[in-house]
């Protein structure tokens, strides 16, 4: 088992003929992901990725023709909200939005519409997710993964790769690795994913990678203390970040009132019995100490 995506996932890519979309779709195909369709308005009837994937004008048509049950969005920020709404309108149950820089007020409306429709949204501004050896949806490099007992959830991109690589190097494989995104308004939060890992029989241990800003890590810590009995390890980025400055990710800002610091998150996690690593490279050892692998 795993969560969210697997070998049965029938993936649609919105923006498949764009530069980013084409590049990453090729990598997804090579990983073994079952890409059944692409959507680029005006290019319906063509084939993408060297003729391997049919392109449709609309998501509705793509779903009707191919039975796609997940979509990965690579369209530019100005069009991403509409792309997410189009996917929801066609009743695609899983929407993964990689696009960075979506205006927050647009996301507010998209979030609530998708929630009402019961659509699971990952992102935006996220690297996507990979179920090791089965399906890769998004931009996480495929070769860093190996199958094993650890589920990973993170707000970051390359930092996630860093931790996955460290685990793979240490012989600790993964079930699913989920990048939930660095924006203030995202579709799926830590608790949603932690809950899925907690219920997934194959996932024996969980790694959580947080960063400064907001209170999601603190809430996740409370959830873990209450619900999760699987071994866990965590890392929080941004101990040296100055207050009041946005550290790249739109959501990574320590409020001038002092909320959202790395220390506050670390304390909350430790109080929930979760060990927090000083460096991403220490995570495999913390898992081993907790009896994993």
């Amino acid at each position: 088992m795993s969560i969210l995506v697997n070998a049965d996932t029938r993936l649609l890519v919105q923006g498949i003929t764009g530069r980013e979309g084409e590049f990453h779709s090729t990598a997804m195909l090579e990983y073994g992901t079952n890409i059944v369709a692409g959507v680029t308005p005006g290019k319906g009837g063509q084939n993408a990725l060297d003729g391997r994937v049919p392109v449709y004008d609309t998501v509705a048509e793509a779903v009707e023709q191919t039975g796609a049950n997940a979509t990965c969005i690579f369209v530019p920020a100005a069009f991403a909200p509409d792309a997410m709404l189009e996917a929801a309108d066609a009743n695609v149950p899983l929407v993964v939005c990689i696009t960075e820089g979506v205006p927050a007020l647009d996301m507010l409306r998209v979030y609530h519409v998708l929630k009402q429709k019961g659509v699971r949204l990952i992102g935006p501004n996220c690297p996507g997710l990979t179920t090791a050896g089965e399906a890769k949806v998004g931009i996480i490099p495929g070769d860093i993964h190996t199958r094993g007992p650890v589920g990973l959830v993170s707000r970051s991109g390359t930092l996630t790769y860093e931790v996955v690589q460290a685990m793979t190097d240490a012989g600790l494989g993964q079930t699913t690795c989920v990048g939930i995104g660095g924006d203030p308004i995202i579709g799926t939060n830590f608790i949603d994913v932690l809950d899925m890992f907690n219920q997934d029989p194959e996932t024996e241990a969980i790694v959580m990678i947080g960063e400064i800003g907001g209170e999601e890590e603190e809430k996740a810590a409370a959830f873990c203390a209450r619900e999760v009995r699987k071994p866990m390890a965590a890392f929080i980025a941004g101990r040296t970040a100055p207050p009041g400055r946005r550290m790249g990710h739109a959501g990574a800002i320590i409020s001038s009132g002092g909320g959202g610091t790395a220390e506050s998150k670390r304390t909350a996690l430790e109080e929930a019995g979760i060990r927090v690593a000083d460096s991403p490279s220490h995570i495999p050892q913390l898992l081993r100490d907790a009896g994993v692998g």
Binding site: A104, L108, M247, S281
Partner: protein
């Protein structure tokens, strides 16, 4: 992007919020003229983006135009938390009978635009939240239908707005909401919103913070950016499409990805060094961006070494290495550089880096330690 008070007031005024806008001045003479045009007592207010300007002596009353010039002379050039005051706002002084706090924020937790209101105006809302949390109303607005009249009434009753000013309050509330939505704000606050002795409801001070992601669709608001308040290096970075924040340490950092960039800074600190900056060059590590990043980092004379941490992933490591070597060969100033490249072809990257006299590292911890050692060696 934070807007200055006078810019925030411009936006609110456009949306019908009653206020005494005033005039900006950058010299004492301009301040005198502005005060004369207003007639009567004025308040001279430093236009800076940091909080606490009142306590720092950045807000002063003046009874006459000459006094306004004198106060402006005192305030212009004043250092408030590291920002030198260049501009003051000259606004009519108001006799305050009561002060309120009224703000809108984009709340991540409720995923709604949320009203924050308090009858204790004039103090920072974070302060009221600590000392008297019951005095604060937090009201999340429906994300799809927005502010409704009954909510405006409820907020007015909570604040205890006098009956004869309820219609004016509705105008303030609607104007603030419209300003927030139409300018894609993260935060819009009026603090204080006052009732004057002669019974007017006025926004005396205002602050708007805009969502950077939405700025591309608001070129008119982008023009309100105050370059005086930004580090020149941060302006250069923004123009190059690089995310950069200057800090005070000696180890420059160049990283792809925001989370990894923060982690790199944290590990520099953990290894006993001090990071000189946060820098995310984004995906791909293209050579033009690497060149721009080198210039921005080395523009800071405190930088004694640079740590480059690229998790290539799908990007080829040897290409990134060649880009770094090439970009470095065109630099005016050189410092020891520690380079760590992970991903496809990272082994092929190493000889390219070593040949160019760059220090290589396998792990991030190792890279941080080597960067700290390089700074100590240079000192």
């Amino acid at each position: 992007m934070k807007l200055q008070e006078y810019r925030s007031k411009e936006i609110l005024e456009r949306h019908g919020v009653p206020l005494l806008a005033g005039t900006t001045a950058t010299t004492p003479d301009e301040a005198r003229e502005a005060a004369r045009a207003i007639g009567g007592p004025v308040v001279v207010k430093a236009q800076v983006l940091v909080g606490g300007r009142g306590k720092a002596g950045g807000v002063k009353l003046a009874a006459t135009p000459d006094e306004a010039a004198e106060k402006a002379r005192e305030i212009i050039g004043l250092d408030i938390k590291g920002t030198t005051v260049k501009t003051v706002l000259i606004a009519p002084a108001a006799d305050i009978a009561h002060e309120y706090y009224l703000g809108l924020i984009l709340d991540r937790a409720t995923k709604a635009i949320t009203v924050i209101a308090s009858a204790e105006g004039g103090v920072e809302i974070e302060e009221t939240a600590k000392t008297n949390p019951e005095a604060i109303l937090r009201l999340p607005l429906h994300p799809l239908i927005g502010l409704q009249e009954h909510e405006t009434r409820r907020i007015g009753f909570f604040l205890g707005i006098p009956a004869e000013l309820r219609k004016d309050f509705a105008k303030v509330m609607r104007g603030l909401y419209a300003a927030f939505v139409e300018s894609d704000a993260d935060l819009a606050e009026i603090n204080p919103l006052v009732v004057t002795d002669d019974g007017q409801l006025l926004a005396l001070d205002a602050k708007i913070v805009l969502d950077d992601s939405a700025l591309p669709r608001h070129p008119d608001l982008e023009e309100m950016r105050d370059l005086n308040e930004e580090e020149p290096s941060e302006i250069a970075a923004r123009e190059a499409g690089i995310s950069f924040i200057k800090l005070d340490g000696s180890i420059g950092c160049m990283v792809n990805g925001a989370g990894l960039a923060m982690t790199t800074m944290d590990l520099v600190k953990l290894a006993g060094g001090e990071p000189a900056n946060f820098l995310d060059i984004g995906g791909g590590a293209k050579q033009d961006k690497v060149t721009a990043a080198f210039k921005i980092i080395l523009d800071d004379p405190n930088v004694k070494a640079i740590l480059i941490n690229i998790f290539g992933g799908i990007t080829r490591g040897d290409e990134v290495a060649r880009g770094i070597v090439e970009a470095r060969s065109n630099l005016e100033r050189d410092v020891p550089m520690v380079v760590r490249i992970v991903g496809t072809n990272s082994e092929e990257a190493k000889p390219i880096l070593a040949e160019a006299n760059l220090i290589t590292a396998d792990s991030l911890d190792d890279a941080a330690a080597k960067a700290v050692a390089a700074v100590r060696g240079a000192a």
